[in-house]
Point group: C2
Chain length 338, copies 2
């Protein structure tokens, strides 16, 4: 018989008190005489008793778990967020359940539904798109606190932690313009992702600010991952008058885009300059190549989790938080700046 089958009653029996008293000892509540506490502790260690969080969770109606849901853990941006979240949660004595939706709306729906059933106390979510609204409303319906990170979803009343997508995008594109580029391509997800919308707005603002007419053929919709980036770039390269510079909506799309450039026998930045959102830390340390708007991923995770914990503990303010974190513009090689 393993000690995990040892219950609070066994301890109570051995130490000659009621289960309730043992519970008090476990939870460090006052109102236990030193002598009793000693006896109970003795029994606990004698039996190797470890209280069940599961049972405690059911009884207290507080499972002590929260979930972090991202479109792709393998994206270093989300990995950093997850890592920070795990740390903050652990310090607050919470466990973190991971959900990787692979940018698939129906996976996201299922995951969220599952986690509602699991009675997690809260979720930190980087939603797939605006169409996530349906599942997110379920959370509200069930009274499960949640915080959105990286992407917002219109019409949802909840805390969000975002990057400055439009400002960042504008800055990136302005930089390309300052380098003399006029035909600037943009590889971006569909408009039902808030970051895509905002970055597109920044892109357009930069262009119009420089008096450059928007050429719709230069804006390509594609998944924000390597294969999407590659497909998008291929299409841009096939244009009669191809762009001299390209802005990709995120780091992984940039990877694919660069691969496509090379596959076409061209080079970045010589033939096509490139800028993007989000860094790839270890890649940049090995080879400082990507000119990027680097977002403070760790802060996203830390802050998001803290906001979530506040909500869970009912300490959150009435009004929702909307935090916008500025990015850091890092000029490296891919933009072709000297």
């Amino acid at each position: 018989m393993s000690p995990s089958n040892t219950t609070i009653r066994d301890v109570a029996r051995l130490s000659g008190v009621s289960p309730m008293t043992v519970s008090r000892v476990i939870n460090d509540s006052e109102r236990v005489s030193p002598e009793t506490r000693r006896r109970v502790e003795q029994a606990i260690s004698e039996l190797g008793y470890v209280p069940s969080r599961l049972a405690r969770g059911l009884s207290r109606q507080r499972a002590g778990t929260l979930a972090v849901i991202v479109p792709d853990v393998a994206n270093p941006f989300f990995t950093a967020i997850l890592r920070a979240a795990e740390e903050v949660a652990r310090r607050a004595d919470y466990h973190v359940i991971l959900g990787d939706t692979r940018s698939d709306l129906s996976v996201e729906r299922d995951v969220i539904e599952e986690l509602i059933a699991h009675r997690v106390e809260g979720m930190m979510i980087a939603p797939v798109s605006d169409r996530s609204a349906a599942h997110l409303r379920r959370l509200a319906e069930f009274g499960v606190p949640f915080v959105l990170i990286d992407r917002t979803v219109p019409g949802l009343d909840c805390d969000v932690v975002l990057g400055d997508s439009s400002g960042g995008a504008r800055r990136l594109v302005e930089h390309l313009i300052s380098l003399g580029h006029r035909r600037i391509g943009f590889i971006v997800e569909s408009d039902d992702v808030s970051t895509a919308r905002d970055r597109r707005a920044g892109y357009e603002a930069a262009l119009s600010g420089a008096g450059i007419a928007l050429d719709p053929t230069l804006v390509v919709n594609a998944a924000a991952d390597p294969s999407g980036g590659s497909a998008g770039m291929s299409r841009l390269l096939e244009l009669d008058e191809r762009p001299t510079a390209v802005f990709t909506v995120n780091n992984l799309a940039a990877v694919g885009a660069i691969e496509a450039v090379r596959a076409a026998g061209l080079e970045v930045p010589d033939d096509v300059a490139l800028v993007c959102f989000d860094d790839i830390e270890y890649a940049s340390r090995l080879y400082p190549f990507l000119t990027a708007m680097e977002q403070p991923a760790q802060t996203f995770g830390t802050l998001g989790t803290q906001l979530l914990l506040e909500r869970i503990e009912g300490r959150g303010p009435e009004r929702r938080h909307e935090v916008v974190l500025p990015g850091e513009f890092i000029i490296r090689k891919s933009c072709g700046a000297k």
Copy 2:
């Protein structure tokens, strides 16, 4: 009142049956008349009832959760493992709790202890070092199934999924030797990590196979991360007769080592050739630089999780599994091969 407070009894009342029958409907067990099933399902959807996994877990003594514990989620190798694990687990209707130990033994101890309390059904662990044995024995003591990945711990009777560390290391070092190097440095973790031991064995085998005497000053102990790699490389560069090539125990140490080389005003591979274990996927796609023994991280995760699920479901064989996965040797630039 949110639907998450709706219980099986509410459903029972509304549909005019006993909670037990509702439970049967939820669990798709036979022995429910079509008519009753219909009525119950009607009530369920009417109330928006979502059964509590928490309660079910307590009652069944099976929480439906497993844990994945790694030294560093931000290492792309472990990220890939985690991602695969999450997917396999989800398909089997399990939730994954993440533990990031940051290579800290005491964090690992706490995390494991916490997860025992949580009554997770099993754990997949990349242990910090041999000194993890103490916590791991706790798992055995509590009858919690676990599978070790990437690293083994001597004297522990459990399933393990490993890479071919000694063979891989030998191959890497032999390659350096074939390029004419005789003074080959090795930056490695302390010997209480099985991969460090095995890779050291491979290193030594390659040297002695080529008739090169082992020079202990060329073997430097350092953490298997960027700062360790950097420190290790610095020390090697300060030697009177410094190595012409270096083998680092893993990918992140390689990053640090390269940074140190550059900080010293030198270059890889011109001044120092470099090879390592494990790839950094996106870095290599952007810039195929690291000559590495690439391990099939995803397979580690998939296989490890499958083995774990087998153990949990009691389908595991009597004898323990010990799977050794071969790596793929990829020659790029850092070794200086033409």
